[in-house]
């Protein structure tokens, strides 16, 4: 009998059950579509990031690679990896023309296989690079009047400029030198005579790994393997995924945002489906009462409705899997055509993904209304038939067990999706806490409205009855209020996090970020360079003094090289770090990209020896507030106490330094200056370079605009995907919420007919409904805004994004929260206002 009854109930309520399934399916579909999109974005960003390194992996050292290192390279070659050697060093380049000023260049000696990824673009195209040739960076050639065919001297070698470099792949925002680039053939190194004992040479190996399904993971695994095998402080291994910290940082956050968005969409679907199922179960009470009267046991009734819920879940899984596949295809196509993703997109519905959809959907569909089903199945039949059951709450024990299971499931699923226990913990804990607060706030708000309306008989008819309707139909109102506040709160939070992330990605004002650097400005040239640069710059150029120094003492203990034989890798790495030469600067004011995170920065005019350190630098040096450092600046000691720690937004492209000292202390030291600025008119670059070359020929210009454009382009791809994902989530959320509101239609239609039978004009009935929904909107606005701010801050914190409250965005979301219930509620009931009274009372 129960099986037959199940199919009868299923057929009778097919349309409504289909709607519940659709709510869930949207969430499930989105979850799987996001995985496809995320995969494609990751692949696309990865492809571009490889160009920033020109390889999957770079191994570099200040010492020639020893036998052990070469054995490792051979091992990789045997596995199918391609490896090219590269040698970098700085030197002076002298145009052969008599009287021309030599200038500093960053030399890169390459083989014909270079680059492994990306392309070296020259003018003329594919310029030859024989042992007697060289390629000069176009900006430097313009500044120093060099042209193709000219002869230059690099050390002892006489080379011919065979082409100008207009773009080279292995340059990133954190991997450029303060000198224009010069590329020579590897065979020409010996002719220059510059690579000998004592020279500052960087030996590099670029490695392209064999094709793999997850190149980022493969490059990181190779990075770990080389580090573990070589275990040397002098060798640095960089995987392409970490080559551009800004991109990897943003990608990590965007990934986190995607996962959170997908989980939120699933939550919205679950909340919508849960609320709808609860309303449906209340409507089913007469049937349940009748079944109980006919002798069906509570367990059988519970089983029947659990089975109906499971059917909703199975339907949701099937719809969700198909929808996810379709949505993924549409989204990827949009990304391909809109954002120029060139990767072949492999879209398939794997059995594992389908099984996951099935499990998620069924667990949510059975789990969310579980306590309610058990409660109504156990209520005495007479209680149901007297219409008292809908106000009875689920049993506490069931609710508690369900809450614990939900928390565990949420945590487990978030962990599975994000691979981050911190994110999963924060997400699950935050959502459960938010749900508890929302439930309490919704109940309190509904109670307050009821009290107010009952004690205010002087209110106009529509207002009084609208509020009474809201306050007295507690169970229904709480479900609405909870669902809408949760929905709009989540959507608002998501929007705030998206805007915060966008702000961070685009740096707020991308067109004002400096993209040109000046290096080696001498003190007497400072004023002149400033004046010249100001007339070309869009923003006030920033000049910073640069003082070279070595660290001599930490807290009175001399820093000196010790036998590294007994040291751990970390200790050797720290020793190497302490012994290097540092660039210090002096200033009395922080620039906009610096934030003090510990201690305090000095006031202008400070004369005491104080030191401010960058956070990562202080951690690596293992020094903190109160420690005393002594620097050796060309033989003169400068000692000070660390009294502030700063973080630096390196994406700001402002000249920044690990170590800052007050102006009065360091101003007399030998120094030169660097500057950063952005041209007001890119077309005037040649004019600027000519003017600079004419008056200040030693000053080099480093053009980072191409690198910056490249990074911005990658970040732009991420941002576009981000926007699309967030707006889809909003659309899904609104649809689910609209469906939930519309579910109340039957009860409202009946009440409308009754009011009309008593002579109340349809417009006044609509006004009563409008007041009721507007009050829900107002409460949603209040509770939803607090939820949005709280959850937004929490999610931003989890994703390590600076939380930025865009009040216009909050206003937009919450204005929708205010108007949406009224508009949907009145529209959903529109037909009832005009329907015949008799028919409605008879059939609804």
């Amino acid at each position: 009998m129960p099986v037959a009854l199940f199919f009868r109930l299923y057929r009778r309520n097919f349309r409504r059950l289909f709607f519940f399934s659709s709510c869930l399916a949207t969430g499930v579909a989105f979850l799987f579509a996001v995985e496809s999109v995320l995969g494609a974005v990751r692949r696309s960003v990865g492809e571009r990031s490889r160009e920033l390194l020109a390889a999957d992996l770079e191994v570099s050292s200040n010492r020639p690679f020893d036998a052990a290192a070469n054995r490792v390279f051979d091992r990789f070659r045997k596995r199918g990896a391609r490896i090219v050697p590269l040698t970098s060093f700085s030197s002076m380049l002298r145009p052969e023309d008599f009287g021309a000023t030599p200038f500093l260049v960053s030399v890169k000696a390459v083989t014909a296989e270079y680059p492994l990824y990306g392309s070296l673009v020259t003018d003329p195209p594919h310029a030859p690079l024989g042992p007697g040739d060289c390629l000069v960076e176009d900006t430097a050639a313009r500044q120093h009047g060099l042209a193709v065919g000219d002869a230059v001297l690099l050390g002892d070698a006489r080379l011919r400029v065979s082409g100008l470099i207009t773009a080279e792949p292995d340059k990133s925002m954190t991997r450029f030198s303060f000198a224009p680039g010069l590329i020579i053939a590897r065979e020409a190194i010996d002719k220059t005579g510059l690579v000998r004992f004592g020279s500052r040479i960087r030996h590099r190996r670029l490695i392209a790994l064999p094709r793999s399904a997850d190149p980022a993971a493969a490059s990181r695994a190779a990075e770990r393997e080389i580090e573990r095998t070589l275990d040397s402080p002098y060798i640095r291994v960089t995987a392409y995924a970490d080559a551009e910290p800004t991109v990897s940082r943003v990608l990590k956050r965007v990934t986190g945002f995607f996962v959170v968005t997908a989980l939120i969409t699933l939550m919205l679907g679950a909340v919508g489906m849960g609320s709808s199922l609860t309303l449906f179960l209340n409507e089913q009470l007469p049937t349940i009462g009748m079944l109980r009267c006919l002798g069906v046991e509570p367990r059988a009734v519970a089983g029947l409705y659990h089975a109906l819920c499971a059917a909703v879940g199975l339907q949701g899984a099937a719809l969700g899997a198909a929808g996810g596949w379709l949505l993924g295809a549409v989204a990827l196509e949009a990304l391909k055509s809109g954002l120029g993703l060139t990767l072949p997109v492999e879209l398939s519905l794997s059995p594992a993904a389908a099984a996951e959809a099935l499990a998620v959907s069924t667990v949510v569909a059975v789990g969310v209304p579980f306590a309610r089903v058990r409660a109504i199945a156990a209520i005495a039949p007479l209680t149901i038939l007297r219409g008292k059951a809908s106000t009875l709450p689920p049993r506490r024990r069931d609710t508690a067990i369900l809450a614990i299971l939900a928390l565990a499931a949420l945590y487990g699923f978030a962990l599975l999706k994000s691979n981050s226990s911190e994110l999963a913990r924060g997400f699950a804990g935050g959502l459960v806490a938010a749900a508890a607060l929302l439930a309490a706030a919704s109940a309190a708000a509904v109670r307050a409205v009821e009290r107010f309306a009952a004690k205010a008989p002087g209110l106009p008819f529509a207002l009084r009855h609208g509020l009474l309707q809201l306050g007295r139909e507690r169970a229904r109102s709480r479900i609405f209020l909870f669902t809408l506040s949760a929905g709009f709160g989540l959507l608002g939070a998501l929007d705030l996090v998206r805007l915060s992330l966008s702000e961070e990605i685009l740096l707020g004002k991308a067109d004002l970020v400096p993209d040109l650097f000046l290096v080696d400005i001498q003190k007497p040239q400072l004023q002149g360079v400033k004046e010249l640069t100001r007339s070309f710059s869009r923003v006030e150029p920033e000049f910073s003094p640069l003082i070279r120094a070595r660290l001599s003492h930490i807290n009175g203990v001399a820093v000196r090289r010790r036998d590294s034989g007994a040291m751990t890798l970390e200790e050797r790495s720290r020793q190497s770090f302490l012994l290097r030469e540092y660039n210090l600067t002096y200033k009395d004011r922080l620039n906009g990209s610096e934030t003090i995170v510990a201690g305090s920065f000095w006031r202008p005019g400070e004369t005491a020896s104080r030191i401010s350190l960058e956070k990562g630098f202080s951690e690596r040096m293992k020094v903190g507030l109160g420690d005393r450092l002594r620097f050796d600046i060309q033989g003169r000691p400068v000692e000070g106490t660390v009294d502030s720690i700063r973080t630096i937004d390196w994406m700001s492209m402002k000249p920044n330094f690990f170590v800052v000292i007050p102006r009065a202390v360091l101003e007399p030291a030998p120094q030169n200056f660097i500057a950063s600025f952005r041209l007001a008119d890119r077309g005037a670059f040649s004019d600027y370079q000519r003017a600079l070359g004419r008056h200040f020929s030693n000053v080099s210009v480093i053009d980072l605009s191409k690198v910056l454009d490249s990074v911005q382009e990658i970040l732009g791809t991420l941002l576009s995907a981000l926007k699309g994902v967030a707006w889809f989530c909003v659309a899904v959320g609104l649809l689910v919420l609209a469906g939930t509101i519309a579910l109340d239609r039957r009860a409202r239609a009946r009440r409308t007919a009754l009011f009309k039978a008593l002579g109340c004009p349809p417009a006044r009935v609509a006004a009563v409904d409008a007041v009721s929904f507007a009050a829900i909107g107002l409460l949603t606005f209040a509770i939803g805004s607090l939820t949005a701010l709280g959850l937004g801050r929490l999610i931003a914190g989890m994703l390590e994004i600076g939380f930025f409250v865009d009040f216009a965005a909050v206003g937009r979301t919450l204005a929708a929260a205010l108007l949406f219930p009224t508009a949907v509620g009145v529209l959903a009931n529109w037909r009832a206002y005009g329907a015949g009274v008799s028919k409605t009372l008879k059939f609804e």
């Binding site: 219409g387 106000t391 009084r464 009855h465 306050g471 039978a757 008593l758 002579g759 349809p762």
Partner: protein, 221 residues
């Protein structure tokens, strides 16, 4: 004459074509008169009541209320007519679940534009007269069937309408409660001279009213 039915017919669409529920029903009711409409189940009693009360429109024919055609009234006119001149008692009470007995009874006066306070005071008097004084603060689901129906009666006549339509008002009640409900309705009918049209299966109840109309197969017998 307060209400007149002129050749009322009502068809309902069905998959096998229109089904005639009422077929040329004509009669009239005088002010203060009480009339019962009886007949077997499915004979069209409730449909006729719906047409008389302006809750539904006839397929042909018309209903006149003091020479005005109710069947041709616009929705707003119908609403105005129902709120000033008509009271209803339904078989399954049809009380607003979110309002107390007092608030349900006071509803027609509030719809008429009286203040909630004034309406509540009058509803309190009527409920007390119907023996519901102690239960006036209770919600419908907290009341017995008889108490709910007495609340519905209070709601039907609080605004002193010229005619009350009652659709099987005792159908869901036990014999004793049914008798008390009928006594209440007839008491109002006699005290304030409100016309009463009552649909019932119960011949004993029908005999207590001034006149009885029997409907069979959609026609007056």
């Amino acid at each position: 004459m307060i209400l007149k039915a002129e050749a009322l017919t009502k068809d309902f669409p069905t998959p096998s074509g229109p089904l005639r529920i009422l077929d040329g029903v004509s009669f009239s009711i005088d002010p203060g008169e009480s009339v019962s409409i009886t007949g077997p189940s499915g004979s069209g009693k409730s449909s006729l009541l719906g047409l008389l009360a302006g809750l539904d429109r006839p397929t042909s024919g018309r209903v006149l209320f003091k020479e005005t055609s109710v069947s041709e009234m616009e929705e707003t006119e119908l609403c105005a007519w129902r709120r000033t001149s008509v009271g209803f008692v339904f078989q399954n009470f049809e009380l607003v679940s979110s309002l107390t007995a007092l608030e349900n009874a006071a509803l027609p006066l509030e719809i008429l534009g009286r203040s909630a306070k004034e309406a509540a005071a009058r509803a309190g008097e009527i409920l007390a007269a119907l023996g519901m004084g102690a239960r006036s603060g209770h919600f419908p689901h907290e009341l017995s069937g008889g108490e709910q129906q007495r609340t519905a009666i209070a709601r039907a006549y609080i605004h002193e309408p010229e005619i009350i339509f009652a659709d099987e008002p005792t159908g869901s009640l036990d014999e004793e409660t049914a008798r008390s409900v009928v006594d209440s309705l007839l008491g109002i009918n006699r005290r304030i001279k409100t016309a009463l049209v009552l649909v019932t299966h119960n011949p004993e109840l029908a005999r207590q009213l001034d006149r009885s109309l029997t409907i069979h197969g959609g026609k007056l017998a």
